[in-house]
Symmetry: C3
């Protein structure tokens, strides 16, 4: 039951991130190979980095090419229907939030399954959730969504931490999973809607000559 | 004979991509260390990613530093003679096409040699062929050539697929190799010359208020 | 004694580079999670790539999460006191030079310890020293410091080479370490101060029609 839930989240996150990669390709008016490339690096990029760092090689999609196929199919469908939504940018941001929430939990779970401690497991969750989008934005020449002021990395951090701490606390894993997912998604959607941000770094105001005692 | 052919293509692709990295360095007026760095990441970047994902570690150029040496020599020669060609940009694009064609076949061959199935082998071909140039363009601050409208990824895909399907179909490997290389190069050069592109994604025209029934 | 010296340099380089990542985050007015992310990728990015290429997996900070913790603490402190220095950009460049010098030697030492030959050990030094900053600048959307005209990669190359050649020549390792570090730092600081650069590539002057014999 729990393995099934994680699998659903994992495949769902892959497809959803692949669509966001394809939407960036649509904004750049690329051809279908470009859709497939950007879709694939976004859908499997975060998990690939996770497997590399953990030393789980070859990486997951080499032994299970179906992940790659899902990305290519999602990108191809997007190629034909990307014009349907009212706003592609809004859809991109929305799906990015869903993928972030799914992978924050999945990444943390795969970290724990690989036997690492809580700090690294939470880091794996954040990394799996954010790096696909980072690669997508760098390759697509867009300003990385991770740099935006609204809460983003912190939402993934919250969801990963909830899952890992829930696991340590002995919560039923299904509950920890769903709670972590819902927390990340709620936080990120609310941040997008109300432009929530954590306190950001603000430079001191420029001093006037008077302050310098002149 | 076949191993010799693949080795020639592999070393040739490394040198040719290293020169394209050095040409980007020349456009940025870097010093000779910059030429060496950009030359090396371009020449061995795609194959390094391939080895990482397949788990063939340490990566090839650590056990065979001659690959690195070839990149540095190619970059150093470029440092002194980059002013000779009529147009450095044209030469860069031309050599990039040659490197793309060489590595599309070499990458697919190395994938099959590592025991992966056809989908992953073709993916390895495309990745080996394209990621050196992607890293070059991202580090060099240039718009990634992979994002251009003219056929690029699709050409590498065609060459890799021809090699892999030829191997499966029992073609002589030399024939599959040469056919895959020639197909990629012809397709890419023709696309550059006649600005061929696959159908690209086009957004629907902006609707006027009348269309909305107002 | 020598192991202790290398450990001091390694942890120092990690903290110093993490601060530079956090300073980039401060220039982008990110929140504290953004500081932690940019601090971590900068502090451990170069060493992570080194471990991946050498096949030393899982990478060092997974078995020793203290590296990650140091980065996060350094980034958090920077979040609160980044406004103190007169010029954050000047501080960033200064610390970047210190980190470059520390990691040039540490990277080369770790390469030799992994059993590779001198060319690859020097390459590992240059890579460990430069890639954290490259990832920082690419993610932060800044022009990569590695592309600047002043001596940068060459300084890391000099320090790594001094260490490796000193080791081969049978110098006391402490002496080789300190000499390599001081050489890189002196060269880089002098290059920043006096705008030293190696001869850079210069295109020939545009020919006038007369030169073409018209």
């Amino acid at each position: 039951m729990f393995q099934y839930l994680i699998a659903v989240l994992d495949w769902g996150g892959t497809a959803v991130f692949a669509i966001t990669g394809a939407l960036v390709a649509s904004r750049k008016q690329m051809d279908i190979s470009g859709f497939a490339l950007l879709g694939a690096v976004t859908g499997i990029g975060g998990g690939t980095l996770r497997d590399l760092l953990l030393g789980k090689l070859p990486v997951f999609w080499i032994s299970q090419p179906a992940y790659l196929v899902v990305c290519v199919i999602a990108a191809a469908i997007t190629f034909f229907i990307a014009h349907v939504p009212e706003s592609r940018l809004k859809l991109l941001m929305l799906l990015d939030a869903v993928g972030l929430s799914l992978f924050a939990v999945v990444g943390a779970q795969k970290g724990l399954a690989a036997g690492v401690g809580p700090i690294i497991a939470i880091t794996m969750g954040v990394m799996t959730a954010t790096f696909g989008g980072i690669i997508r934005d760098v390759l697509g020449g867009e300003s990385p969504v991770v740099l935006r002021r609204e809460i983003y990395i912190s939402a993934a951090l919250a969801g990963s931490a909830i899952y890992v701490l829930g696991d340590i606390a002995g919560l039923p894993l299904e509950l920890a999973t769903v709670t972590g997912f819902v927390a990340t998604l709620t936080l990120r959607l609310a941040a997008m809607h109300w432009h929530w941000s954590l306190p950001v770094y603000r430079p001191r105001p420029a001093r006037s000559p008077d302050d310098l005692g002149l």
